[in-house]
């Protein structure tokens, strides 16, 4: 990396040095991120991996399965280029897919946590998967599967501590607004409804969380916009409403207070990953919500 500074001062040079050092991977890397994918999603996954490697000083290992052909391992390594960590792309041909753990284990960073991420389809039992077994935290993304609702339910049925799904991460802002609304109104919630695009997986999870926390049934309605459109909590004091009116903006209504608009945007993938990588412990609240999801699905 070469940084040119013209008409500068030693102060700017010093600042540029620190900045460059931060992005050059000089100091300790904090985690290993294993990204597991099939060949047909390779390109998009690789760009997500690069974005992640740029955001965090970590070792990113992309594990790609290529079904045909004899067993063979191809690897490419990228270091520097504006990334604070390193990026290793492994292409596993044929039989090797069943022995991915033996390939990855020697490459994990010492001591620090390992996170596995399946951006698309994921095995049923994450913790029992060769790669999943190496990881302390396992992240999936139901939205990247062919049938997100099914995928979410499968995740919920096979949940083990340390698993999370990005569906959950996408809900954090919604949940924060709703929790903040109750912080202010202090009213008892007597009813709840969620309006969303038909068959929307995040909405299903949000409804499961609400009914788990509030111990009331949550009604579901189809809306016209993509994703979650609106959440309304009926309280003894009046309605709490969060309704998305445009991309990035929502109407926020709390009893006895004027209606307000708030920023509520869809967060890019790197944001979601950053949130996931902050927490290395199991997410009990997610687990409770998935239990409720399974119970609802089975009509209990």
């Amino acid at each position: 990396m070469i940084i040119e500074l013209t008409d500068t001062s030693s102060r700017d040079v010093a600042a540029a040095l620190i900045n460059a050092k931060r992005t050059a991977g000089a100091s300790g890397m904090v985690l290993t991120l294993l990204i597991v994918t099939e060949d047909d999603h390779f390109e998009e996954v690789l760009s997500a991996a690069k974005a992640s490697a740029t955001a965090h000083p970590s070792r990113v290992i992309v594990v790609t399965y290529i079904d045909e052909g004899p067993s063979q391992l191809d690897a490419s390594i990228e270091i520097g280029e504006g990334m604070p960590g390193d990026l290793v792309v492994l292409r596993l041909h044929g039989e090797l897919r069943h022995h991915a753990d033996s390939i990855c284990l020697p490459l994990l960073l010492p001591d620090s946590p390992t996170i596995a991420w399946w951006p698309n389809d994921a095995p049923d039992h994450l913790a029992e998967d060769p790669i999943g077994g190496l990881a302390d935290r396992r992240i999936t993304d139901a939205a990247g599967c062919h049938n997100p609702q099914d995928a979410l339910l499968r995740r919920a049925r096979n949940h083990s501590p340390g698993d999370t799904d990005l569906t959950w991460t996408r809900l954090t802002r919604w949940r924060a607004l709703l929790a903040a609304a109750l912080d202010q109104s202090h009213a008892e919630v007597t009813g709840a409804l969620v309006v969303s695009a038909p068959d929307n997986a995040p909405a299903t999870l949000l409804a499961a969380w609400l009914s788990d926390r509030l111990a009331i049934p949550v009604e579901r309605f189809d809306g016209e916009h993509p994703g979650v459109n609106e959440v309304r909590l009926t309280t003894t004091e009046g309605d709490v409403t969060v309704r998305r009116v445009a991309e990035g903006t929502a109407i926020y209504q709390v009893p006895h207070q004027p209606q307000r608009t708030v920023a509520l945007r869809r967060r890019p993938l790197t944001d979601l990953l950053t949130e996931e990588l902050q927490r290395m412990d199991a997410d009990d609240i997610f687990e409770a919500a998935t239990r409720r999801l399974v119970a609802d699905a089975e009509g209990r």
């Binding site: 030693s10 903006t249 307000r260």
Partner: protein, 509 residues
């Protein structure tokens, strides 16, 4: 207190940020540099991270003939230029709805009438419900006037369920007496827990980092005392001069400006015993104990040093000396370099000198706390083997590039037995998946949430003045001007001699 438990919250649910309740932030002195470079961007960054309540009002008060939209434009530009997080239109729109400007002066009743009406209007229109935070980004001399006006116009009334808080900036007075007067002025209107003192050099993040390093680890505590530590150097160097701030700085000096609050806080955090919990009150109790035990040794002529920057070259640019700055009289005795030794009379630190120094126009901008260790009692090497070996050091870097450096000896590769100093580095910026929030972001959030501040309360401020006052009095009694030092160097000879007398030398930060 009421016992409402929010069913949507759970201590286990650490993804959910705490969002402050609806409130109005009123900034006095909103046209200042600080407000543009730090406060407004911090407000935006908070909004962008989803930490600000829906229903947040930002009111600027200053002597400008501005309408709301002019002020909004100023905020907009400040945010675009200085915010830490990317600019997003929808977040800006949310903020914009609550932005108001009140033109006026502190002595004008009408201005404060307008301010009250503006706040009342926001209370209903935005639902901010009488929750007000007043940020006094103004000289302390105006505090009394503003306080009187706030009270006269009924802006700090307490009702059921609302709050009023005030933020004041360092310096908290210019000596013990004025600090007490200032406190009297503020405490007429605000209770101690409603007063947030900010030292923007020392964010809560830094304080917590230091606490975590000291008390979350087993390996540092055993050596954190006079058995192993030979001396401690606490440095805060700025690479700039006073700029246009002669009116503020001349007559005050760097010791009052920085050592009283910032360096003595760093000293307290470094030297204090472990608090029984990290509750703010407990933390303050420990800091108070150590500050009460700290003093500058009596021979001020031997254990303190002061200087003034002279013209010179600083980082490749020619700069003028302090006495040539606009608004500084050629006979000024205000120091721009201050160094002093502080001894702490307790079992842990007796015999370990703490050297504090703070200065302007140093070679680079740096703040750090360096613990130097004693030499090993016996070295089983020949003298030539260890010729290059200094002493071990643990350096807490505060800024820039916050982190920790350990220095120790290692063998130079090769057949010769030669031992030399090496460094092991840790940086907060490169070791986590998140970047640290700005000090102001943390502070404003604390103010809005009403989190007990880790910032000093009055008693600590007074203890700090008690340490510093005698030194400043001694300096004032001297006939000659402070020693000149060339800009862009590490300070005057007297500063080096001060350490040399004790057998040490400043490390180069």
């Amino acid at each position: 207190m009421n016992s409402y438990v929010n069913p949507l919250r759970d201590p286990q649910d650490r993804r959910l940020p705490r969002i402050a309740g609806p409130c109005v932030l009123v900034i006095f002195g909103v046209t200042g540099d600080l407000s543009r470079k730090k406060l407004m961007p911090a407000v935006y960054d908070l909004a962008n991270r989803g930490m600000l309540p829906p229903g947040f009002g930002l009111v600027g008060f200053a002597r400008r003939d501005w309408a709301d939209q002019d002020f909004a434009q100023v905020v907009h530009d400040a945010v675009k230029e200085n915010a830490r997080t990317p600019f997003r239109e929808e977040v800006w729109e949310q903020l914009l709805e609550g932005i108001r400007f009140v033109p006026g002066t502190f002595d004008d009743d009408q201005s404060f009438e307008r301010l009250r009406d503006t706040i009342r209007d926001l209370d209903t229109a935005r639902g901010t419900g009488g929750n007000h935070a007043f940020y006094l980004s103004i000289p302390p001399s105006s505090f009394e006037q503003v306080m009187t006006q706030l009270r006269r116009h009924g802006m700090t009334e307490r009702h059921e369920g609302n709050w009023n808080r005030v933020v004041i900036e360092k310096p908290f007075g210019h000596d013990l007496e004025s600090a007490r007067e200032l406190d009297d002025v503020v405490s007429v209107l605000f209770q101690p827990h409603e007063v947030f003192r900010i030292d923007h050099y020392l964010g809560k993040e830094t304080v917590q980092n230091m606490l975590a390093l000291r008390f979350a680890n087993q390996m540092f505590e055993p050596i954190w005392n006079n058995h192993y530590v030979s001396h401690v150097e606490i440095t805060m160097a700025e690479d700039i001069g006073i700029g246009g701030r002669a009116g503020y700085f001349d007559g005050i000096g760097i010791a009052r400006d920085v050592i009283q609050n910032h360096l003595l806080q760093l000293l307290a955090l470094t030297a204090m015993e472990e608090p029984t919990s990290f509750e703010a009150g407990q933390l303050r109790a420990e800091k108070k104990k150590v500050l009460a035990a700290a003093r500058v040794p009596d021979r001020y002529d031997l254990h303190t040093a002061r200087g003034q920057y002279a013209a010179g070259w600083q980082g490749g640019r020619p700069v003028i000396g302090y006495l040539e700055e606009d608004g500084v009289s050629p006979g000024s005795t205000t120091e721009t370099y201050a160094a002093m030794r502080v001894d702490i009379d307790n079992r842990r630190w007796a015999g370990v000198p703490f050297y504090l120094r703070s200065a302007k126009r140093m070679p680079r901008r740096v703040t750090e706390v360096a613990l130097s260790f004693k030499r090993a009692p016996h070295l089983p090497f020949t003298a030539t083997d260890t010729e290059e070996l200094g002493t071990n050091a643990l350096v807490m870097r505060i800024q820039p590039d916050e982190g920790v450096t350990l220095r120790f000896g290692a063998k130079v590769p090769g057949t010769q037995m030669e031992i030399r100093e090496v460094s092991m580095d840790f940086g907060y910026g490169g070791s986590f998946t998140e970047s640290s929030p700005e000090a102001y972001e943390r502070l404003i959030l604390d103010v809005l949430l009403g989190d007990p501040p880790l910032f000093p309360q009055q008693e600590e401020v007074e203890l700090s003045w008690k340490i510093l006052d005698p030194v400043i009095e001694y300096w004032a009694s001297l006939k000659q001007q402070p020693e000149q030092y060339a800009s862009g160097t590490w300070g005057p000879a007297s500063g080096r001699e001060m350490l040399a007398r004790d057998g040490f030398s400043w490390r180069r930060p």
